[in-house]
């Protein structure tokens, strides 16, 4: 009797595999390969920018992002322990999956740029999902946020952070993340972006378009290389005005390693952007890799399933 049970246990996986092959033959290959492509990216952010991923329904994502000070250059080096003594920005966020396609969230960031003490409300909607049969070749996710600064107003009207009315404190971002997963190892994302800031400095731009590119190269089931870059379309007049006053604007570039450890996704990264929020790092990055003005940073994501699954 014991031998019979043992034989059943040993043969059961093989018989199940055969049954699956039979199902594949019955329904044809297309029915299986028309499934949506999942896990294009492991997290809802690549490094600085958004990925096309949204949270599963009733999942709560607690996120912490931190950017340290300059590793090199005059603000870095051994005196600041290569930037670890300083923090340029810190963001703490709670994001929640209302449905599998719709994510909403709130966050608080220290802020780095014209404004500090940033409060963010965000929404993200998965419009299209890539399919294995390429009937839908790319995934498209829409992202939007509204950010308000609670910092004290400057008494000087000429300052950017002079707030005559509440709306002067606000800014918005709208993005479409167009992503595709190539096989199991490579994922790419293209992110046309629009940034609106209600109040900006003299000769700065209230409305700015930007184009982001991001990617993920998977080394193993748990480790991947991630990178993203945002090109901001700032007009020449604005660039020249600020350059004449000693401020140059740069595009943000981040590279990092993504490590997944069961429930956590950990990004250890380097970036020249001092800010975490799109509203700031796209239009207001003034540090450059060439002068050693890049920094360590990390994004930690911890997901809690509240749906009782």
């Amino acid at each position: 009797m014991l031998h019979l049970r043992l034989l059943t246990v040993l043969l059961l996986p093989a018989s199940m595999a055969m049954a699956q092959e039979d199902l594949g033959a019955i329904f044809g290959k297309d029915s299986v390969r028309r499934d949506p492509v999942t896990a294009t990216f492991k997290s809802t952010r690549i490094i600085n920018g958004q990925s096309n991923e949204t949270l599963a329904k009733r999942d709560l994502d607690f996120r912490v992002a931190h950017r340290f000070g300059d590793i090199g250059g005059s603000g870095g080096g051994s005196s600041t322990f290569f930037g670890l003594d300083n923090s340029t920005d810190i963001r703490i966020a709670f994001e929640y999956g209302i449905t599998d396609k719709l994510t909403a969230g709130v966050s608080r960031a220290k802020g780095s740029g014209n404004f500090s003490q940033m409060w963010e409300v965000l929404g993200k909607y998965k419009l299209l999902q890539q399919t294995h049969d390429n009937r839908i070749p790319v995934g498209v996710t829409l992202f939007a946020n509204a950010v308000v600064s609670s910092m004290k107003s400057s008494p000087d009207k000429e300052d950017v952070y002079y707030f005559d009315k509440f709306s002067d404190r606000a800014g918005y971002v709208a993005q479409a993340v167009i992503a595709r997963k190539f096989g199991n190892a490579v994922s790419l994302a293209l992110t046309p972006s629009f940034v609106h800031r209600n109040r900006v400095g003299y000769k700065d731009m209230n409305n700015m378009f930007a184009l982001g590119v991001g990617g993920r190269l998977r080394f193993s089931n748990r480790v991947a290389l991630v990178a993203d870059y945002f090109y901001a379309f700032r007009d020449e007049e604005s660039k020249d005005y600020y350059a004449a006053r000693g401020t140059d604007f740069y595009n943000s570039l981040g590279v990092g390693v993504e490590i997944e450890t069961g429930g956590h996704v950990f990004h250890l990264n380097f970036t020249n952007a001092t800010a975490v929020l799109e509203n700031q790092f796209i239009p207001e990055t003034t540090s450059t890799w060439r002068n050693g003005q890049f920094r360590w940073g990390f994004n930690i994501s911890r997901r809690f399933s509240l749906g009782g699954r």
């Binding site: 740029g113 004290k152 000087d156 300052d159 002067d168 109040r199 003299y202 209230n206």
Partner: protein, 162 residues
Amino acid sequence: MYDRKNKEWRPSFSLLSFAGNLCKPITVMKTMQTLTPILRPQRWYFPVLLAASLLAACTSEQAPEPTYNTDCATVEVKTARIYELVQQHCTNRSCHPGTGSPLLADFSTPVKLKSYITANGASWAFRVTASNADMPQSQGYPTLPRSVRDSIACWVSKGMPD
């Protein structure tokens, strides 16, 4: 229009009768039937109201052109005045006095302030006097007006005169 003699509604193309037709009981009823399921409190109310209120708060303001004097040749700033500003904005809440955190930038005396700026000139400029400077940080300190930042920058550029 409503034909009183025959007691019925008849098609009419005048503006007044068009308006009258809109108010016909049957039209009102049909409209209500169409709108009721849409107007019923639903999940999309909150995001739509939120989006509408956010869009209503969407403005485009630009700070006026700076008129402050950036010509350091005409600015007379001495260490005593700058140190007064530093005490007011940087060292009055256990930051930067050398006893609290961070010890890295000790501004407890004018000499220590000067030695810090001498050793960390670029960092000082980036964090204190640049247009997007992040000091003083958010611990209840007032932000530095542009004119004050420029005065500090002039004092540094002139060799921090006493």
